[in-house]
């Protein structure tokens, strides 16, 4: 396209004007840059030169105080106390080895700490402070302060460290914190600057880890002037951080400590859940450990002792442990049968002591059989044959659905580590996981809580609370965050016929109140606090036909790890349920002997909000109970004060 010279000329002139305009703007900007340079380098040169020569502006993070943990009554479960540590800035120290050897003459240095400090020094830039001694006392701090001139680059620092005054009682409930590790940093995408502070404490396990975001708070920062040896000359300005949120737990420290003591040296677990709110009043796992050991950094020997103990003190059995629920599952099967309309209250089944199912003989725990059994008696006496028969009619899918409705085999959202889902198997599950068809024998096993069925003690407590209230109670561990009440776990009504629930509850009542009930010996006498429960004994081994012929070996004669698990679930008071309790004693033997008495004691302790009167116990047990109460009293040093030292 050819254009007229006139048009070309006019566009060219226009471009010229604009180019000059833009060029002018560019010149003006360059002029501004020059002015700025002059301002920084000439007008303010003295100030900056001073800063550069003698002092340095240093920005230090102010770590926020970690949120405290309280029990439901305000007793302190976790708090922070000041601790002193010694840091070295290699750049300021100059000859690091010389300074450290001088320091080791003054205070005791742990070789392990020194070794770690050396590796950290090699990896991080020389201006970053590195901890050489942690958790030192005030005396050592003053020694360093006095000898400061001989120790360039060495500074004592005060920090906060986590303390768990309740010790082992809450180790499984809240977990513990520890210094942030490289492994932790790798797992976090966008690490908070705070995590770069050497030895900064973060939640490692349990609630401390799960609620880390709430508890940690936000870092503050201060700008300080430091002199050539790294000592702070003055603070220029500071921006306060935000302390972590205080959490109030649903747990009652008094009760928790009692439960932990009552479980004693058994490998066991117990859960107390509030039937109104779903609050976990106690959630204990024994044996336990002292979380304060982990805060300081546990010694290899202590750690080995914990990991090699066959009772697994580090495992939080209440939520992580899964066990076959055994006969405590029978309420689920019964309710599924009632809901499906397959049995009524008066229907009976004849129990000869076993049932043939597709050529295999399924035994009742009572070899002689129970005779004619109805629903009431089947729970009261824990007849197995009744449930084999019922389960075959109902089918596994309905049983599994009922289990899930009652909170078994489903994940409950608790801020604890590795909360187990358990397992309420159905046809679908088996074909997915084993690629096999569901067998009729599997149904019979599932009906009495054996086979693939697995539940955690916490799930059993939830199941019992749901049976007791007819509402879908959800467990709650955190009651309030910074005094803001969290939603309760009261739940909606379960979609289950109230009449059917009543029948199951009445049967559970007879378990611990009828002379022929399996837990009659562990009854509560006090009329207002009558308890309804169910025993369970779950096998951890198969009893072969040969063994059975030779006579089943008694639990006492078996090695510990092959004995049955003892289980007991209950709720009380019967007419107005307040608490539901589940107790599992690993390899404890029979549920009625090993678990029911513990559950009864815990239930009473919870109901009375303290040591129950002996009048609540059956009269012939009272002497034994009195001795037990006195023993527990002696073992729990804090209990005498009755929580008077609460914050």
């Amino acid at each position: 396209m050819r254009r007229s010279p006139k048009e070309l000329q006019s566009t060219h002139r226009k471009m010229g004007r604009r180019a000059l305009l833009l060029g002018g703007a560019q010149l003006a900007f360059a002029g501004a840059l020059g002015m700025r340079m002059r301002y920084l380098q000439v007008d303010q040169a003295d100030q900056f030169r001073l800063l550069a020569e003698e002092n340095r502006i240093n920005i230090r993070l102010i770590p926020p105080a970690r949120g405290k943990l309280f029990d439901r009554n305000g007793a302190i479960i976790a708090q922070n106390t000041p601790s002193y540590r010694v840091v070295i800035v290699p750049e300021d120290a100059g000859d690091v080895d010389l300074i450290l050897s001088r320091l080791s003459q003054l205070i005791e240095l742990v070789p392990e700490d020194l070794e770690r400090a050396q590796t950290e020094m090699r990896r991080s830039p020389p201006f970053l402070p590195i901890t050489v001694a942690d958790q030192i006392n005030w005396e050592d701090v003053s020694k360093i302060a006095v000898n400061a001139p001989a120790l360039p680059g060495i500074t004592p620092e005060v920090g906060l460290t986590r303390v768990y005054p309740q010790g082992a009682d809450f180790a499984h409930v809240v977990g513990y914190v520890g210094p942030v590790s490289d492994y932790d940093l790798e797992r976090i995408d966008d690490p908070d600057q705070l995590l770069r502070i050497p030895r900064f404490q973060i939640g490692k396990v349990g609630l401390e880890a799960k609620e880390e975001d709430n508890l940690r708070g936000k870092a503050g920062a201060k700008r300080v002037e430091v002199n050539a040896t790294g000592r702070i000359m003055r603070e220029l300005d500071r921006r306060e951080g935000q302390p972590g949120a205080d959490l109030q737990l649903s747990v009652d420290a008094e009760l928790q400590s009692y439960v932990q003591a009552r479980l004693g040296v058994e490998s066991a677990s117990a859960v107390v859940i509030d039937c109104e709110s779903g609050d976990l009043r106690a959630i204990a796992s024994a044996p336990s450990f002292d979380p304060n050991l982990f805060v300081r950094g546990i010694s290899v020997a202590d750690y080995r002792e914990l990991t090699e103990n066959q009772y697994r003190p580090l495992a939080n059995k209440s939520v992580q442990g899964t066990y076959p629920p055994g006969s405590t599952f029978k309420m689920v099967t019964a309710l599924a049968g009632l809901e499906a309309g397959i049995i009524g209250a008066d229907d009976t089944v004849y129990c000869p002591g076993h049932l043939e199912i597709s050529g295999r003989r399924f035994h009742c725990w009572k070899r002689a059989g129970h005779g004619h059994v109805d629903l009431q008696n089947s729970i009261k006496q824990s007849c197995d044959v009744f449930y084999y028969d019922l389960a075959l009619k109902v089918g596994i899918d309905k049983i599994s659905a009922m289990a899930k409705k009652l909170g078994l085999g489903v994940r409950h959202d608790l801020p604890m580590s590795a909360v187990a889902r358990g397992l309420a198997p159905d046809r679908d599950w088996k074909s997915r996981n084993y690629g096999q068809d569901w067998l009729i024998g599997d149904t019979a096993n599932a009906a009495i809580g054996q086979g693939y069925m697995l539940t955690s003690p916490m799930q059993l407590a939830v199941m019992t609370a749901r049976l007791a209230t007819g509402r879908s109670i959800e467990p709650r561990l955190v009651k309030s965050v910074n005094s803001v009440e969290q939603p309760t776990g009261a739940g909606d009504p379960l979609d289950v016929n109230e009449n059917h629930l009543r029948q199951v509850r009445r049967a559970m009542f007879s378990v611990s109140n009828d002379r022929r009930g399996t837990a009659y010996r562990s009854r509560i006498i006090e009329d207002d606090y009558r308890m309804a429960g169910k025993t369970g004994t779950s096998q951890v081994r198969n009893i072969t036909a040969a063994e059975r012929r030779a006579g089943v070996i008694h639990n006492r004669d078996l090695p510990w790890e092959r004995r049955d698990h003892a289980l007991f679930v209950d709720f009380a008071p019967y007419d107005n349920p307040k608490f539901a309790v589940a107790v599992v004693v690993e390899h404890g033997g029979g549920g009625s002997v090993a678990a029911a008495p513990i559950a009864r004691d815990i239930t009473l302790q919870a109901l009375y909000g303290g040591t129950p009167p002996l009048a609540a116990y059956p009269s012939k047990d009272r002497n034994k109970i009195k001795a037990q109460q006195e023993r527990l009293h002696r073992e729990r040093p804090g209990s005498g004060k009755d929580g008077k030292d609460r914050a």
Binding site: L8, F29, A30, L33, G34, R56, I59
Partner: protein
């Protein structure tokens, strides 16, 4: 204007082209690069390794590339503009795909002696394309809406692709350079006024919406903007570098501490001391005098380009030259503002001085175009 309209006969040919180079511009470029070698030598603690030596080799290659671009007639480059642009877009897509396969971080293509970032290349090819576009477009259409929206889209396409990488600095440079080209070409000023006021309006609206129900951004996005605008609120991130940078700069004073006398340990605070923050070393070691000298060299280069642009009567040549000058200006203006604490820290290198291949190479190509326009100007 097609190349037939150039008075081809009067254009120098063969080796005579070198005589018609804009030699003062070449000398200016060499002196700026020289300053760069000096600083890289100093930052490395008085050593050619690891930065000064490769930088010198690269600059040598860059000079050859510039001469090669320069001897090719400017009308060839004009005809190639659309192809170059399309090719760069393809490269941008390509690194995006490679990057996606190679787990993310790859934003460059390895040429052996340097790593080419297509986003850097785009800074030049976009200038070429817009210059060619406005050379082709009849004057009376320049401000018609359709003919305004087309170049806007041509600018936005690569900008959005770069923004996705994410490379905010380059995206901003592309937008400003593209807008500048449109302004130079003579698009009616009302468009610029409208875009500017809409932009200001949008920013005001976004900030006004904060804390209200119709909040336009998420809270964390606002917090990021806060740190972006006020680095001091992020004392260990951007603000830290700025404080250290200002101290190093300020302590230089009038004449500086002398070559290699800068307190190197202090500069260890700056992770990019050989790239984006290299100006601090210069300003500390040679003081205000050194800093202002480099600034003067930069301004001279810009002025020289504007002068050659105005002296030539060929529209494409003028526009390309002005565009290269603007891009060059944006490089040093943004980098210096950042180092002196006037702008947020975005990754823009100091042109021809910072260590790095891509930016230097595309600038040398750009100056090659300027030279070509100068040699082949209608006489």
């Amino acid at each position: 204007m097609s190349y037939l309209e150039y008075t081809v006969k009067s254009v120098p040919s063969g080796l005579r082209k070198f005589a018609y180079l804009n030699w003062p511009l070449v000398l200016l470029l060499i002196s700026v690069a020289g300053v760069g070698f000096l600083m890289l030598y100093s930052v490395a603690g008085g050593s050619f390794a690891p930065w000064a030596e490769p930088q010198m080799k690269r600059f040598g290659v860059g000079l050859v590339v510039m001469l090669m671009v320069a001897v090719v007639p400017i009308w060839f480059w004009r005809n190639m503009a659309a192809v170059a642009y399309a090719l760069t877009i393809v490269l941008l897509i390509l690194v995006d795909l490679i990057g996606a396969v190679g787990m993310g971080a790859q934003r460059w293509i390895d040429l052996g002696f340097m790593r080419l970032q297509p986003s850097e290349l785009m800074k030049i090819t976009m200038v070429m394309l817009l210059a060619a576009y406005y050379d082709w477009l009849p004057a009376k259409r320049i401000s018609r809406p359709f003919w305004v929206i087309t170049p806007v889209l041509l600018i936005l396409l690569p900008t959005l692709m770069v923004l996705r990488q994410p490379d905010l600095g380059t995206a901003l440079l592309l937008i400003i350079a593209g807008g500048g080209m449109m302004f130079l070409a003579g698009v009616h000023w009302a468009y610029f006024a409208a875009v500017l006021s809409a932009g200001v309006g949008l920013i005001v609206a976004v900030f006004q919406s904060r804390g209200t129900e119709w909040q336009l951004l998420k809270d964390y996005q606002f917090r990021r903007i806060d740190t972006f605008l006020d680095p001091a609120s992020d004392p260990l991130g951007a603000g830290y570098h700025i404080t250290q940078s200002k101290i190093a700069l300020g302590s230089g004073g009038w004449t500086g501490r002398g070559f290699m006398q800068g307190t190197q340990s202090r500069l260890n605070f700056l992770p990019e001391k050989q790239t984006d923050f290299i100006f601090t070393t210069l300003a500390e070691e040679f003081g205000f005098v050194g800093g202002i000298s480099l600034l003067t060299l930069y301004v001279l280069i810009t002025v020289f380009c504007i002068y050659t642009a105005l002296a030539t009567r060929d529209r494409f040549s003028s526009l390309v030259t002005l565009g290269v000058a603007l891009t060059f200006f944006l490089f040093f203006a943004v980098n210096m503002s950042m180092v002196m604490g006037l702008a947020p820290v975005v990754g823009v290198p100091l042109p021809l001085v910072s260590y790095g291949g891509s930016a230097m190479m595309i600038l040398m190509v750009g100056f090659g175009l300027v030279q070509s326009a100068h040699i082949h100007r209608p006489r």
